[in-house]
């Protein structure tokens, strides 16, 4: 088969509105602003919370923020990859719950190694189911993963009879818990996965294909990119990352419990969009998503330290999310301003 002759990112870029020569400088400034905006939001939050609480900008608390970002970061990486292709995965929270339950059951009956292997494996199987239906049955990702959202969560409940399953101290908890040089081990795992996904997205053909498929799927197909296979891989990756996140959350809370993944779904999507990855695909990336994850983690941590009224906390989160998206979103692309 002939290899595609067109560089996929070029195909992706061609879907962007052309910047006229006279508007080139302003356009570049706007692009730079989109990249810088999440940093600005982050810095504003850090300064604000440092003033509100003397504890906030201490090494111990920064490690806290790192630890509390780990699970969300891993899920956001999977979500980023899916969203780069213009799809969405609504099942990540339920995959996390199911994977955590299977790992917890395995940890009880077959030991640490089985748990460590099974969590990502369950995620992989869930991702394969999603990916096969989306890629080869050509069903919309929104509906397929909405089905997965219910089905995987229900399966977790069925396996566990709705009961939390505790994790014995030692074993998995020991392998993934604790800290190395003061840095929480679960954060190190999350950083390791981040590095792998960044390399895959930026320096491999697979990564370039992601942007091409998200930029314009039809053009990508015409240039010879195996769009179906890329979509399948994307959901496989999302599933594996949700399984890995399950392992980290399992260690963090020392138990698998019903609905444990559900709160992460909207947070992960929100973090990715806040970071600047477009819901319609083709722009953004995993590095951008770090900013979104940190914004959410810092907000949660800072408001607890500042003893903000619980009702006001939700208002503040809502305002910051909208403000961050308003600053980072490329509104020149009509398809994402609907």
């Amino acid at each position: 088969m002939t290899k595609p002759s067109l560089d996929p990112p070029v195909a992706a870029r061609r879907t962007e509105p052309a910047v006229s020569p006279t508007r080139g400088q302003a356009g570049r400034a706007r692009v730079n602003w989109y990249v810088a905006a999440p940093f600005v939001v982050l810095v504003l939050l850090i300064v604000g919370f440092s003033i509100a609480s003397p504890i906030f900008f201490t090494p111990d608390n920064l490690l806290n923020i790192m630890q509390s970002s780990a699970v969300l970061l891993v899920l956001a990486l999977g979500t980023t990859v899916v969203m780069l292709t213009g799809s969405i995965d609504l099942s990540i929270g339920s995959v996390l719950t199911l994977s955590a339950y299977v790992a917890a059951i395995a940890a009880q009956s077959a030991g640490t190694t089985a748990a460590v292997l099974l969590a990502p494996l369950v995620g992989l199987v869930c991702g394969a189911l999603n990916g096969a239906l989306i890629s080869y049955a050509r069903l919309p990702s929104f509906l397929v993963t909405l089905g997965g959202y219910f089905a995987f969560d229900g399966l977790a409940g069925y396996l566990s009879d709705g009961q939390p399953i505790g994790l014995a101290y030692g074993g998995v908890a020991e392998g993934f818990g604790g800290s190395v040089g003061g840095v929480p081990v679960i954060s190190l795992w999350a950083i390791g996965l981040l590095v792998l996904v960044v390399i895959a997205a930026r320096y491999t053909r697979f990564g370039r294909y992601l942007y091409a498929v998200g930029g314009n799927e039809r053009t990508a197909r015409l240039t010879g990119i195996p769009v179906r296979r890329i979509k399948l891989y994307v959901f496989l990756l999302s599933g594996v990352l949700a399984g890995a996140a399950a392992l980290l959350q399992l260690v963090r809370t020392a138990s698998a419990s019903p609905g444990m993944g559900e709160p992460f779904l909207l947070l992960a999507i929100g973090a990715v969009v806040m970071g600047g990855t477009s819901l319609s695909g083709g722009s953004g990336g995993p590095v951008h998503s770090i900013m979104g994850v940190l914004v959410i983690a810092i907000l949660a941590n800072g408001m607890v330290l500042a003893n903000v009224n619980p009702y006001a906390q939700n208002v503040i989160i809502g305002v910051v999310v909208v403000a961050a998206v308003a600053l980072t979103m490329k509104r020149t692309r009509d398809s994402i301003v609907k």
Partner: protein, 439 residues
């Protein structure tokens, strides 16, 4: 050979793939349904003197995903079996639409009575009035929209039962403060902002704080009654207040997250929770220096007692105004031995330690036994904790007469006198603070 038609390649059409996936999905669903239909615990036979009147009773509650409601379902099923009631379980998963649908369809499905707990008390006036129109007697537990009472809805709203949150939380907090030596910093992990259980438990903690001026509340943040939500909150708070001396959690699920966070930091700070779920009871045995105490208020009793109320309502038993809204009993477990005894009795046995038929006034008009402490609930002060009395609200004259006379005291004494069979007598003796039952 063309690689597209190699030996390992199968060309599935989209239609074939969809058909296969649909068939597989349906087979999986059918398998799960078959599995779900299997009863996991054995049910007792009908009690002596009980005849099968073909009475269908719907037991509606909002989740099966925690030990309290699994106990509830178990108690309800065992009571229904003893009373020869045809129990239909409806779990709404916190969906108001499903609750409304269950209530609306009750009359059409020949339901004779209902037991209910809704996650969102705001819909209780609507669904209770629907059952009043349908003439279906209904008993409700725990969550009720403020200022919605059996006296306002009418005779089909048979009874409201609830644990005494302010008193339970105050007693538990008092024990914690004593353990702290009456001084030091306290972190309070509350529940869900606006939730009635959370609000009324806050009231109890505040009352205890007023009695112990040496205790300083340094943080009160919601944990959502959930270990996942509590984990980042307590991690932040432990960093902010490393010298905390005690932590009060609004339920055991949150308390487990706190225990876990303390263990990972090698800190030993006493923690209390509410509900007496198996995992916290096990933590009380494995790390008693951290997992200190919990308030046991028996989900199995509540589920079973409501089913008994359905039987009594259908048998024509009338309740006095003082009995229409009542607090139900519980006690604080505060030693590893008591935690072990409770865990074994309530969660590990094949049957529950209650005789539900003995709770029925219809079956035992003279020797009925609630098997726990119960006392009349004075709803004006109870609802005022959440919402001021609406302008123009009129208290039912029969209730007002009972409240102003000696009816409340008489009913409390009567229930105390009838409480003879105590399933927890041995466990109470193992509690350091005496394990006294209170409502």
């Amino acid at each position: 050979m063309n690689s597209r038609h190699g030996p390992l390649r199968t060309d599935l059409s989209r239609r074939t793939l969809l058909r296969g996936a649909a068939a597989g999905g349906l087979a999986l669903a059918a398998g799960l349904l078959t599995g779900c239909a299997t009863t996991r615990r054995s049910l007792p036979a009908a009690a002596a003197g009980v005849t099968d009147n073909n009475w269908k009773v719907i037991d509606q509650f909002y989740t099966l995903s925690n030990a309290y409601f699994q106990g509830w379902a178990n108690g309800s099923a065992q009571a229904a079996a003893q009373l020869a009631l045809h129990r239909e379980q409806q779990v709404d998963n916190m969906s108001n639409d499903k609750v409304i649908s269950v209530f609306q369809q009750a009359r059409a499905s020949n339901t004779r009575a209902m037991t209910s707990i809704v996650a969102d008390p705001g819909i209780t006036p609507q669904v209770l009035r629907a059952n009043a129109e349908a003439g279906i007697p209904t008993s409700v537990a725990w969550n009720l929209a403020p200022w919605t009472t059996p006296f306002d809805v009418g005779g089909t709203f048979y009874q409201f039962l609830a644990g005494n949150n302010p008193v339970g939380a105050e007693r538990l907090a008092g024990l914690l403060f004593e353990k702290m030596g009456g001084t030091g910093k306290l972190i309070h992990i509350s529940g869900i902002p606006g939730n009635s259980a959370s609000t009324t438990r806050d009231v109890g903690v505040d009352a205890a704080l007023a009695r112990y001026p040496g205790i300083t509340l340094v943080a009160r943040q919601p944990g959502g009654f959930d270990r996942g939500t509590t984990t980042p909150v307590i991690e932040s708070l432990l960093t902010a207040h490393p010298d905390v001396a005690g932590i009060f959690c609004q339920n055991d699920d949150s308390a487990l997250a706190v225990v876990n966070a303390l263990r990972s930091r090698n800190k030993s700070v006493p923690v209390v929770g509410i509900d007496a779920i198996p995992e916290f009871l096990e933590a009380m045995q494995s790390v008693p220096e951290i997992a200190f105490a919990t308030w046991a208020h028996h989900g199995a009793w509540m589920g079973g007692a409501l089913m008994v109320r359905a039987y009594d309502a259908l048998s024509g038993v009338k309740l006095s105004p003082a009995e229409r809204m009542m607090f139900t009993g519980g006690f604080v477990l505060d030693t590893p031995a008591a935690a072990d005894g409770y865990n074994t009795l309530m969660y590990k046995g094949d049957t529950l330690p209650y005789d539900f038929s003995l709770m029925s006034k219809a079956l035992h008009p003279n020797d009925w036994d609630p098997q726990t402490t119960m006392k009349p609930l004075e709803f004006e002060s109870y609802f005022s904790l959440e919402k001021p009395k609406p302008a123009g609200y009129t208290v039912d004259p029969a209730y007002a007469a009972a409240r102003d006379g000696d009816e409340f005291a008489r009913v409390e004494a009567e229930y105390k006198d009838h409480f003879r069979k105590d399933p927890f007598a041995d466990i109470r003796r193992q509690c350091a603070a005496g394990g006294v039952d209170f409502a």
